[in-house]
Symmetry: C2
Subunit: 189 residues, 2 copies
């Protein structure tokens, strides 16, 4: 029996991601994924026991990538407002670069049992924590003071989800900055 | 054979809604719905051919109710800002009063084919149109001018979705007004 390699696991996950992007989630079959990855069914099943294990691994990989992108974003920005723009931009770029991920998260939320651990939760928690830290940073430096941090974070992430899903493409220029300006300073003149 | 009545159809839909609220969407069986509605399986199938027809009817009923609530909300408010608050409040109250509806919309989005008509779309379209009319009304009366109506509507509805789904309960006082103030005037002081 061949040793399992991270490289082949990655190839299978890439193939699965393309399949999930192409068909409705519940229509994707392990057979299609094996064919797409150009591996035998035996090899596929030695890496991932079933479709559930596969999509949980895909979500875990997506979540790790998003966490890295978010942590990178805040390190490379200076003031609090630029950090917020960098965070929003990182989310936009990440989802636009992984077009299957958004649908996969939604599908797994619907199909999974509520008592199961949700592998996207880590990315959500990190995003929420970083935004709260940026709000606190903005207050400390006197850049801006967010009145209601909890409501604002909900409005910001929910709004961002809507923009990713329904917003026009190609993305307008400086979209992340426009979102942050709108949320912090208001949509009205 | 008995004549079909809207009253019995409504009772079956109510039972289905309770079942969808209690179990993950794909686990609900027609048998459970017949038992919950206290009708025979024959009666159930004479009203709704399969689970798909049932959930499409549930979504259509939900969509009609939401459209009525939205249209009612703008009629009874005076200035543009109050109309916006009334619209947001109507959405919050409607979803909180129909706890199965939110999950059902998400489940059907995942399970349905993209070329099928989505029966919640009517509610979305009406909500979007009414908000754009209120923005236009605000501008005409000099109450407020929304710079980027499309982005603002996306942020508003996406944010609202997040509040409905993840926001604290019981809902904070004046939540709709706080959302509108935050979106129009900004989250920062």
């Amino acid at each position: 029996m061949r040793t399992k390699t991270p490289k082949l696991a990655g190839r299978i996950l890439d193939a699965a991601a393309r399949q999930f992007a192409r068909q409705r989630f519940h229509e994707v079959r392990m057979d299609d994924i094996a064919a797409e990855a150009e591996v035998s069914k035996g090899t596929l099943y030695s890496y991932f026991r079933d479709k559930e294990e596969l999509y949980l691994a895909l979500l875990a990989r997506g979540s790790e990538g998003m966490v890295r992108a978010l942590e990178d974003a805040v390190v490379h920005a200076d003031d609090a407002r630029s950090k917020l723009v960098a965070l929003i931009d990182a989310v936009l770029v990440y989802f636009d670069g992984e077009p299957h991920l958004f649908d996969l998260i939604q599908a797994v939320e619907v199909l999974q049992h509520q008592d199961q651990e949700f592998p996207w939760q880590a990315a959500r928690d990190v995003a929420m924590r970083l935004v709260q830290e940026v709000f606190e940073d903005g207050r400390r430096r006197g850049d801006f003071v967010v009145r209601d941090a909890e409501l604002t974070a909900l409005l910001l992430f929910g709004g961002l989800r809507s923009v990713i899903r329904f917003g026009s493409r190609p993305r307008p220029r400086l979209l992340a900055k426009r979102i942050v300006d709108s949320v912090l300073d208001g949509a009205a003149i």
